[in-house]
């Protein structure tokens, strides 16, 4: 039996905010019966633009129900900008942890939230913030896993095998037809890694680290952001903690902080040092 925390069991046994809001401002639906888990998340905003009500319906195991329930509690009272920054790690933290094999339950919560926010912007006829609307083809049709999710997992955990990708994302765990596609993404990552070998720096000499961070931000990170109309500048380096500020389009984008922060950190870790921590400064 899984070692669920008391908080997971509490949210499973006493789920909060079960149901569907007929007058919802945004609805997100992810997963399917074939996947083994699915979540419909709906929310309604109050006059100040804060989430007044959130409801969930979940098909899935105890931890999927608990992740959904705790997410609705986290959402209530937040603006959409604040809500968009909730990551799956935040959901896991709020639950006091999840078994490793159950991480995808929290990912489903994050994905439903993203889908619900995108739905809100579409209903309003507003432009969807760029970070929420990536062109993202589905690679694994059995478990409906997108290319973005797979690329992210490969880079984040430096994956090399299809079964590693399955373990982290579920992709490829079904019929196996997408294994060639996953191999292609793995190969692209491996090629990119070979083309940009990690820069060796003397970690003892902080000045060298600082200089390398500045160079890598300018040469490797900023160009990618500029492609989407964004940019980044280095604010400070304290030990292995790199403080940056987002500028350009990214500064205006409500959802960019968490997404871009994770991405920059991952790039710097690949290129420089595993223990690098990236902090995005508050927007001015």
């Amino acid at each position: 039996m899984w070692d669920y925390t008391d908080k997971v069991m509490d949210h499973f046994l006493n789920p909060r905010n079960v149901g569907f809001l007929e007058d919802a401002d945004g609805v997100g639906e992810v997963g399917s019966m074939a996947c083994g888990d699915a979540l419909r998340l709906s929310f309604r905003l109050d006059a100040e633009g804060r989430i007044a009500e959130a409801r969930f319906q979940t098909f899935g195991c105890g931890s999927a129900i608990a992740s959904s329930s705790v997410l609705t509690e986290m959402l209530i009272g937040k603006t959409l900008e604040e809500a968009a920054r909730i990551t799956n790690e935040d959901i896991v933290r709020e639950l006091g942890g999840l078994p490793r094999q159950k991480m995808h339950c929290s990912v489903m919560g994050r994905e439903a939230l993203e889908a619900a926010i995108v739905d809100y912007y579409r209903r309003q006829g507003k432009e969807v913030p760029c970070a929420l609307l990536h062109e993202d083809p589905e690679i694994c049709h059995c478990y409906q896993v997108s290319e973005h999710t797979i690329r992210d997992a490969i880079a984040r955990h430096d994956l090399a095998e299809v079964e590693d990708v399955t373990y982290h994302t579920k992709a490829g765990g079904g019929c196996g037809q997408c294994h060639d596609e996953i191999r292609r993404l793995l190969a692209e990552y491996a090629d990119a890694k070979a083309a940009h070998p990690p820069v060796t720096v003397d970690l003892a000499a902080d000045t060298g680290f600082h200089r390398e961070v500045a160079r890598l931000l300018a040469e490797e990170v900023a160009p990618a952001l500029r492609a989407d109309g964004g940019d980044v500048e280095l604010v400070a380096v304290h030990g292995r903690r790199v403080h940056v500020r987002l500028t350009g389009q990214c500064a205006a984008c409500p959802a960019s902080d968490a997404t871009v922060e994770g991405w920059i950190q991952q790039r710097l870790r690949e290129l420089l040092a595993d223990e690098t921590i990236v902090v995005v400064e508050e927007k001015s």
Binding site: L13, R16, V18, G36, F59, G60, C61, P99, K102
Partner: protein, 402 residues
Amino acid sequence: MSGLLDGLPPRPDGAVYLDNNATTRVAPEIVEAIQPYLTDVYGNPSSIHRFGAAAGRAVEEARDQVAALLGADPAEIVFTSGGSESDNLAIVGTLRAHPDKRHIVTTAVEHPAVLSLCRELESRQGYAVTYLPVDGEGHLDLDALRDALRPDTAIVSIMTANNETGVLFPVAEIGRIVREAGVVFHTDAVQAVGKLPLDVNELPVDLLSLSGHKLHACKGVGALYVRRGTRLRPLIAGGHQERGRRAGTENVPGIVSLGMACRLAAQEMETEQTQVRALRDRLEEAILAAVPDCRVNGDRERRLPNTTNISFDYIEGEGILLLLDRAGIAASSGSACTSGSLEPSHVLRAMGVPFIAAHGSVRFSLSRYTTPAEIDYTAAVVPRIVERLRAITPFDKEHATF
């Protein structure tokens, strides 16, 4: 929404254990009977002195008891560490004895002890393996078995009873087909021994696996029946124990427990077929009557008397098990989430059970210790739990997808 466990009926004393296909309680008389072998009778059966002789006598008496349950000769019983080792010894031991034969026939619904081994032999050692499919009821097509046999087939390994659904394969008929073709036939009878009368004088099997802890003996002990004349190479090299077929100092208390469990099983066989079957049917019928959109997986006729596997559409098995556990009821599920794998039960998928039903499958497996009060309590709890979880799920009959 109120708590998922609010308003359940009062529960009987103690927990309700309905997971006997996973493992069973050790029979109280066995617990008592093995005490001397954990204390005074600690000799090594191979030793010449009185300590060894006493232990050796106990092992041989147990061998007689296991043989008696199966109608076998005691010399045909090899003690092992359990069902998995028995299966591995049967298959690998046969392959090693027939190095020129490179083909194995098994089924898509075997226990992992057989299935994973066959996949391993296929992928790493170049064996060809035929996995026979099953139909929606869980049955084999015997013509497919006939067609699968080849001149280089070394062994056919087909279970007697399925651990998940309880569905029985026609082992006697299968054995006739296999042995007519001159191929060694192994059956994993781990779930069947003690629940069904099995007599090797009538069953044309060469090798038969059984496991102690599935019939109220201790964990860590099992046996392989090896028909006289069957060529088999040992897996474990070492001493001369078990006539050179399985090295290692005997697990004396475990073996004594297995012997006694076999003796008790012979006495209780009628109970399994009458009392246990009646309680299983009572539980099954009560659930089917009270819960909409649920069904029994597998043929309800040709089935173990103690097992029922029921799918509850639109909900997931792990949630059901967690709530049952909170209500004091132990069962198991073929859902993906309970195992940590992504796919639901390979047995249910092989039977073509759709995902909506496979994820929400629950297995209740009874024993001769199960009481009518426990069954009635479970029958009252299950519909409420299913109803609570269905109130959370986004899916129902009209909306099976988003």
